[in-house]
C-alpha cells in the first residue's frame, strides 16, 4: 500500500492506495474558505494551516485504515509553494523513518497526468495493465491555475510535453479576468456561474496564438483585451453586461484550449487512442462538453479526471507513485528536496 501526502498549495491531503483495490481512503482539509477573504492563496497562512492539519488527517487515516501495510510514502515535492512543499516532504520523511518505508518524490503534474486513469483502475484493478495499454498512446490536456499543457503518454508509459502556455495558465486567465470584472475568488467558478446567463458571441475576444499547427497556448493577450474593453465601457454597462462578458470571455478560453487540442489530434492523425482532461479547470462544464465533442470527432474515448481528483489531491499522487515508471524520484529517499518551479518532464 502507498501512503501519499500532498501540500503543494492550499489543500492538505492524505491518501492510501492499494494496487489490488484502488484508493482505500482519501482525507482532505481545504483552505479555500480562509483564502477567499484574501482573494487568493496567502503563502504564510497556507503554511501554518498545513502544519495544523497534517497531524489530525494522518491520525484519521491511521484510525480508519491503518498503516501496517504501507510500503512506500509518496509526497509531492514540486511544483508548488516552497514552504508548503517543505512541510509535506518533512512529514513524509518522518513517516518513512517511523514506518521503515522509502520516500517516493512525485511531481504534482505527474499526478495530473495519471488522474484520469484512477477510475479506469478502480473499475477493475486486476485488468488495469491490459486496459491501460488499450488506451495508449494517450493525449492529455492539463488545465489548472498554474499550468496549461498538452502531453503524450506513450506505450511505455513515458511522458513528453507537446505544448504549454507561453504566459498565463488557463485557470489564471479566468481568475484574473474575474478580478478585472470585480468578481470573487476563486474566479473560474464565479465566471462560469454568470456565463450561464450570457451570450458567448456578445463580445469578440482573441483566441490566442493563431496558426493551426502551432500548439502552444497564450492567454495574456486575452486578459489584456478584457482590460482594454472594460476601460472603454462605462462602469454601469460593465455591471449590466456581466453575464455576456463572462460567457464571451469563458468561451474564448475554452475555444483556445479546444482548438489546440484538435490541432494536436490532427497533427498526429490516428496516433492517439484516448484523450485526457485533468487539473482544476477540468471541472468547467463548458470545457468538458467541448473536449467530449473533440474526442467523439476523433473517434476515441475521453477520460476526464473525477471532480475529487481535479484539484490538488493526494489520491493522484499515490496513484502516480504506483503507475508512473519514470516520473517518481525513488533515489533521493530521506535526502529528497523540494522543487518549487519544477516542470512536467
Amino acid at each position: 500500500m502507498i501512503l501519499a501526502l500532498e501540500s503543494s498549495c492550499d489543500e492538505s491531503a492524505v491518501a492510501l492506495f492499494d494496487p489490488a483495490r484502488g484508493l482505500v481512503g482519501e482525507w482532505v482539509h481545504s483552505q479555500i474558505a480562509l483564502h477567499e477573504k484574501h482573494g487568493g492563496v496567502v503563502p504564510d497562512l497556507a503554511t501554518r494551516e498545513h502544519l495544523r492539519h497534517f497531524g489530525p488527517l494522518l491520525t484519521r487515516a491511521r484510525a480508519e485504515v491503518g498503516f501496517s501495510r504501507v510500503a512506500g510514502i509518496a509526497v509531492t515535492n514540486g511544483p508548488g509553494l516552497a514552504a508548503c512543499l517543505a512541510i509535506g516532504v518533512a512529514s513524509a520523511k518522518s513517516l518513512a523513518l517511523a514506518l521503515r518505508a522509502p520516500v517516493l518524490g512525485v511531481n504534482h503534474l505527474r499526478g495530473h497526468v495519471w488522474s484520469p486513469f484512477i477510475a479506469l483502475h478502480a473499475e477493475s484493478p486486476a485488468a488495469f495493465g491490459q486496459r491501460l495499454t488499450a488506451h495508449l498512446p494517450h493525449l492529455g490536456l492539463i488545465v489548472s491555475g498554474g499550468n496549461t499543457l498538452l502531453f503524450v503518454l506513450d506505450e511505455a508509459r513515458g511522458v513528453a510535453v507537446l505544448s504549454s502556455t507561453r504566459d498565463d495558465a488557463a485557470g489564471e486567465a479566468l481568475d484574473k479576468g474575474a478580478k478585472l470584472l470585480g468578481l470573487g475568488y476563486p474566479g473560474g467558478p464565479a465566471i462560469e456561474k454568470l456565463a450561464a446567463d450570457g451570450r458567448v458571441d456578445a463580445f469578440d475576444f482573441p483566441r490566442g496564438i493563431g496558426r493551426r499547427d502551432e500548439l502552444d497556448f497564450s492567454f495574456s493577450g486575452l486578459k489584456t483585451s478584457l482590460r482594454y474593453l472594460i476601460e472603454k465601457l462605462p462602469a454601469a454597462e460593465v455591471q449590466r453586461r456581466l453575464p455576456d462578458l463572462c460567457a464571451s470571455y469563458q468561451q474564448a478560453v475554452v475555444d483556445a484550449l479546444t482548438r489546440k487540442t484538435r490541432a494536436a489530434l490532427r497533427l498526429h492523425e490516428g496516433r492517439f487512442r484516448s484523450l485526457g482532461l485533468s487539473g482544476g479547470v477540468a471541472n468547467n462544464r463548458t470545457l468538458r462538453a467541448a473536449l467530449e465533442a473533440e474526442a467523439v470527432r476523433a473517434g476515441i474515448p475521453l477520460l476526464a479526471a473525477q471532480p475529487k481528483h481535479t484539484g490538488d489531491n493526494a489520491g493522484m499522487i499515490a496513484f502516480a507513485a504506483w503507475a508512473d515508471p519514470t516520473g517518481v524520484n525513488r533515489a533521493a529517499n530521506l535526502a529528497l528536496g523540494i522543487e518549487p518551479s519544477a516542470g512536467l518532464a
Binding site: D44, G145, S164, D167, L226, Y228, S341
Partner: protein
C-alpha cells in the same frame, strides 16, 4: 548602454509585446549582477511580457510563464532569473515562507511584480520601472 537607462528614465513607448521584449532584453544586458527590479503596473500592462524579454537577454531558453500560482519561478541563464509575483503577499514578513534566500544564487536578477506589496523588504538599490497603457493601446515604460 547608459543611453538605454537615460531613454527609460525619459519614458519609452512600445507598440507590441515583441517590442517590449526586445527592450527588456537590451535592458537585461545592461544590468549589474544581483539586481532587484521592481515592476510597477496594473493587471495586463505587460509585466510578465517584460520579464520574458529579460529572460531572453540572460539566454534563458525555457518558456517564462506567469509566476502567480507558485509566487515565484526560477530560470537559469547567464544570471539566475527569479520572477516573483508579490500580489498575494501583504506583508514583507510573508517572504520567509517562500524560502526565497535558498534560491537567490549570485549572479541573480530578481524581477518583482506588484513590488508595492512588499515595499519594506525591497533593498535600497532596487530599480523601479513603471509600466502602463498609453493611448492607442501602446505601452509606456519609465524608470524612476
Amino acid at each position: 548602454m547608459s543611453s538605454l537607462f537615460d531613454q527609460l528614465r525619459a519614458g519609452v513607448t512600445t507598440a507590441s509585446a515583441a517590442e517590449t521584449q526586445a527592450l527588456a532584453a537590451a535592458f537585461a544586458a545592461a544590468l549589474p549582477p544581483d539586481t532587484t527590479l521592481a515592476l510597477h503596473g496594473d493587471l495586463g500592462v505587460g509585466k510578465t511580457t517584460f520579464v520574458q524579454g529579460l529572460a531572453r537577454g540572460f539566454g534563458v531558453t525555457e518558456p517564462v510563464t506567469s509566476p502567480t500560482f507558485t509566487i515565484f519561478t526560477l530560470h537559469r541563464g547567464s544570471r539566475t532569473l527569479v520572477h516573483l509575483d508579490a500580489y498575494r503577499l501583504d506583508r514583507a514578513a510573508q517572504l520567509d515562507s517562500l524560502m526565497l534566500e535558498d534560491f537567490l544564487t549570485s549572479p541573480y536578477c530578481l524581477a518583482i511584480e506588484w513590488p508595492e506589496k512588499i515595499a519594506a523588504w525591497l533593498p535600497p538599490t532596487t530599480l523601479h520601472l513603471d509600466l502602463g497603457i498609453a493611448r492607442d493601446e501602446r505601452h509606456l515604460l519609465r524608470l524612476r
